[in-house]
């Protein structure tokens, strides 16, 4: 066998997606005045971060009618590609409550629960190691895992609430609308362009074709979440990642179960089972099991999820199937059995932390939430940073616009000085050592945690996920067989997301459609939604075709970490997550 078609010599980075972000996703100059729509502030992405920005802005504008007036008829517009805000949002999620308490000062946590986005305060918690498929070992929670007093929430439900508040305060929420281009004029972001609707498989306009529109704005906030389509283009256009570490990514797959008896504690497990943590396989990940009490229905729910660094080397690694496998552990069976799965979803998240955060501002625009890489993957916390950064962005934009200026740079320092800057700085060097393997990196990780970030000193670097060579290993051999009741396959999972992507919509996923088997297998197994297939008659080794069932896509974004590129689908397509 030649080296070329051997197993384990190719990295996804050798097959960069056929895409030119700056050319395709940056539009130079606005359309004529009578063709465009003018708004005050355009926020791209109606998740918790973007809506926190809208919520805060409108609070400030409510007390300043003069500035509100100056922003015109549409002071704040939120562009959201899902059918509703929250439709594409997913997180664990156990949240540090403070930023949300600050954002909605008059609301109690009891009211959060009545609104249906919060599900109870953490009173008891446990961390387990799972040395094997049968055994669990309870360990004292490492400091980053302490969650006492935090709140279990659903971001897809929270975003819906924030949307309602924003609309009541005067925001225009443009759901079912993709932002496909960033409009740049004279080195400055001046707006975004919405996507076309009604194109066929090959991009041809159909009978009901409706072209997109330029949205001109005095300020643009990019809150697109993980792997923002315009964020990526902006980072290149304005060189925002200069002197930073590359971003790295993780992928989480989550289910919500209705259970017969309430779970009394918050649980995290840190493996190693079912992962292979040797440096050859490079699988680093963990799980969560959170209790959720639905105040509206009285139901006892459980959120369970598996999250894995997209740094692994075995192409047959599948977060979805690992979650199914994890569910076979007696620890999990004891909690879920007799229950019913009510929701499923998947989402990638940025894992690089402090050193991988791009510069957050550029002329005319800024980055918030996951788009700015503000996730702490050591303590598994991102929601409060999303809210905090949205809130600070709202304040920075307001301050500038109220003064009649358009410089948002004060936001950078505000982030640095806030809980987000401080917490992310503390764990800035904690997770990089794992890129050398769980066992090799473990001691340094512990050192970083024990010293609250004082050691190791300096800046530890990351390498890109797609630079990791892939091989076809045997992780998949131990995935359990779906029974449709407790263990589920990918397709039946996608169906319960309410995914309503039009069958004849154009493909929104860019990648090479003929690649070495290692790369094709990586995509096939990684994708939680079963988007990628390899033809049955494809050769065992060498290059194979990749079939892309893009209508299954749930917009998780993982493909971008491993050699593809997710772009925005037609507005309204994709899943409709409800309590994820």
């Amino acid at each position: 066998m030649s080296a070329h078609n051997g197993n384990g010599k190719v990295a996804p980075a050798q097959f960069p997606p056929p895409v030119n972000p700056q050319k395709e996703f940056i539009k130079r100059g606005l359309d004529d005045e009578d063709e465009l729509i003018e708004v005050g502030v355009a926020i791209v992405g109606g998740g918790t971060a973007g809506l926190a920005c809208a919520n805060r802005l409108l609070q400030l504008l409510a007390d300043d009618p003069e500035t509100m007036e100056r922003l015109g008829e549409v002071p704040v517009a939120v562009v959201e590609k899902a059918k509703t805000c929250g439709g594409h949002n997913l997180s664990g999620a156990v949240m540090r409550p403070k930023p949300l308490e600050e954002l909605f000062g008059e609301m109690t946590r009891e009211q959060w629960r009545e609104e249906g986005f919060a599900f109870g305060e953490v009173k008891k918690e446990a961390v387990y190691m799972t040395p094997s498929s049968k055994v669990k070992l309870r360990i004292p929670p490492p400091p980053p895992f302490k969650n006492h007093g935090n709140e279990v929430i659903s971001v897809s439900a929270l975003a819906r609430y924030q949307q309602r508040i924003a609309e009541e305060a005067g925001a225009y929420i443009l759901t079912e609308t993709s932002a496909t281009q960033l409009v740049v004029e004279d080195g400055r972001v001046v707006g975004v362009r919405s996507g076309d609707k009604g194109r066929g498989k090959d991009g041809e306009p159909l009978g009901n074709f409706e072209p997109g529109t330029d949205i001109k704005a005095k300020a643009v906030a990019l809150a697109e979440g993980c792997w923002g389509h315009l964020t990526g283009a902006a980072i290149r256009e304005f060189d925002l990642a200069k002197d930073r570490e590359p971003q790295v990514w993780e992928l989480g797959v989550k289910e919500v179960w209705k259970v017969p008896k309430p779970l009394d504690r918050l649980i995290h497990t840190i493996g190693p089972w079912p992962l292979k943590v040797s440096s050859k396989y490079g699988q680093i990940g963990g799980t969560w099991i959170y209790p959720m009490k639905d105040e509206k229905t009285g139901d006892d729910l459980v959120s369970i999820g598996f999250v894995i660094d997209l740094e692994y080397a075995d192409a047959t690694t599948s977060a979805h199937d690992l979650l199914q496998q994890f569910k076979t552990h007696p620890l999990v069976r004891g909690i879920l059995e007799g229950g019913e799965r009510v929701a499923w979803g998947a989402k990638a998240l940025p894992g690089g932390g402090y050193w991988s955060m791009p510069k957050l501002t550029m002329p005319g625009a800024l980055l918030i939430g996951d788009a700015g890489g503000m996730v702490d993957t050591v303590s598994l916390k991102g929601v409060h940073h999303a809210i905090n950064s949205g809130k600070l962005a709202g304040e920075a934009i307001y301050a500038a616009l109220a003064r009649g200026e358009s410089n948002f740079e004060s936001y950078e320092q505000a982030i640095e000085d806030s809980v987000t800057g401080k917490e992310l700085y503390e764990v800035r060097n904690t997770r990089q050592p794992f890129q050398h393997g769980f066992l090799q990196g473990g001691p340094i990780v512990n050192l970083a945690i024990a010293t609250k970030g004082l050691l190791p000193p300096g800046r530890l670097s990351w390498h890109r996920n797609d630079a990791k060579p892939m091989f076809v290993g045997n992780t998949a051999k131990s995935y359990p067989k779906p029974d449709g009741k407790y263990i589920f396959d990918k397709l039946s999972s996608v169906f319960i997301t309410g995914n309503a992507t039009r069958d004849d919509a154009p493909n929104h996923i860019r990648l090479h459609k003929n690649v070495p088997r290692e790369i094709a297998e990586t995509w096939r197994w990684m994708c939680p939604a079963g988007v990628y297939e390899i033809p049955e008659d494809a050769p065992e080794h060498g290059d194979v075709d990749v079939i892309v069932n893009y209508t299954n896509c749930v917009q998780c974004g993982a493909i971008t970490a491993k050699g593809g590129r997710l772009t925005t689908p037609e507005g309204g397509d994709g899943p409709l997550y409800q309590i994820l």
């Binding site: 039946s492 169906f495 319960i496």
Partner: protein, 326 residues
């Protein structure tokens, strides 16, 4: 008197099968609540002997009204006139498009309660209670009437045809006046057949295609499979694809199409909406292939296959051919 007035649709010299079911059901229910079932026909020169045959299905009397055929509002006028004449507690309709329209109009005219898509009616304390499946047939709701007259619109094929005797029923001419609105609609052409004529009602094996076939050409896969089965097999279609022009009207199954009960019904890319289900649910064996695991059809199929038709149908066709050859 707790009499039941039953609408009987006729066309081309024959009474509609669903109407025969409704008359049979009406006769049974009337007996249980101490009344009679009367049928009503409307048309231009309705043959008296045709009307009289409804006696065999239990009608004690048949009313015949003169008026334009195929439209609902003249029947609303005629039935309202009959009911206002006294003695009727319920109006009953078999499945079909006109029944929905007449029943709804009559409810408005008489301020009466109406239940539609009814699959079962039972008598309790001299009153009728209608049962209607809801939420994709996952639950059954029960409807009682507070009004003087209750209107019951059956689901297609819900009521069994039962011949209860040989005697003709007496036929009475009903005189009534057409309302102004009933005079505003004119039938230009009725019962036009579009597309090729195919016989699906007599087939033992039906391969039925829906939107899931993707396009008109998708039916070639269904036709190839039907051909592979050979013998008495045919291809059928859902209303959605017939209306879209992918397949001839004569092959349509369901609410406004044909009702079939072949030995094997193989549904390809059919979601299984109620309107389709009512036309094929009495098939002996139902096999469904659909890529949507949540398609309602899987709830009433005997074998469900979740997968891509374009992959499965060609291979299944080959396998069936091979099997038949062996």
């Amino acid at each position: 008197m707790a009499n039941i007035l039953v609408y009987a649709l006729h066309y081309d010299g024959a009474i509609n099968k669903n109407s025969l079911g409704a008359v049979s059901e009406g006769a049974k229910l009337a007996a249980e609540i101490g009344g009679e079932a009367h049928a009503i026909l409307l048309g231009e020169n309705v043959p008296q002997d045709l009307a009289a045959t409804l006696g065999k299905y239990g009608a004690k009397k048949v009313l015949v009204a003169e008026g334009p055929e195929g439209l609902a509002q003249p029947l609303v006028d005629a039935m309202a006139a009959a009911i206002q004449g006294g003695g009727y507690s319920y109006a009953l309709f078999g499945g079909g498009l006109l029944g929905f329209e007449i029943g709804a109009g009559l409810a408005a005219r008489l301020n009466a309660g109406v239940a539609m898509e009814v699959t079962n009616v039972r008598a309790e304390g001299g009153e009728l209670i209608a049962e209607r499946p809801i939420l994709g047939d996952s639950a059954i709701s029960e409807i009682k009437y507070r009004s003087d007259v209750g209107i019951i619109i059956g689901r297609l094929n819900a009521f069994e045809i039962k011949q209860s005797g040989d005697a003709d029923a007496p036929v009475e001419q009903l005189s009534f006046e057409l309302s102004p609105q009933a005079q505003q609609a004119t039938m230009v052409t009725r019962g036009e057949q579009r597309g090729a004529d195919v016989d699906i009602e007599g087939a033992d094996i039906l391969v039925a295609g829906g939107r899931g076939l993707g396009k008109a050409e998708g039916f070639e896969l269904a036709e190839a499979l039907a051909a592979a089965f050979g013998g008495n097999s045919a291809v059928a279609a859902t209303r959605a694809v017939v209306d879209a022009g992918w397949y001839p009207y004569a092959a349509q199954i369901g609410q406004t199409g044909k009702t079939v009960s072949p030995k094997l019904y193989l549904a390809a890319g059919i979601s299984g909406a109620i309107q389709h289900k009512v036309g094929m649910q009495s098939s002996e064996n139902i096999v469904a292939i659909n890529k949507d695991a949540n398609a309602p059809i899987f709830e009433f199929s005997d074998l469900g296959v979740v997968g891509d038709l374009n992959k499965i149908l060609p291979k299944l066709t080959e396998a069936v051919k091979a099997k038949k050859g062996s």
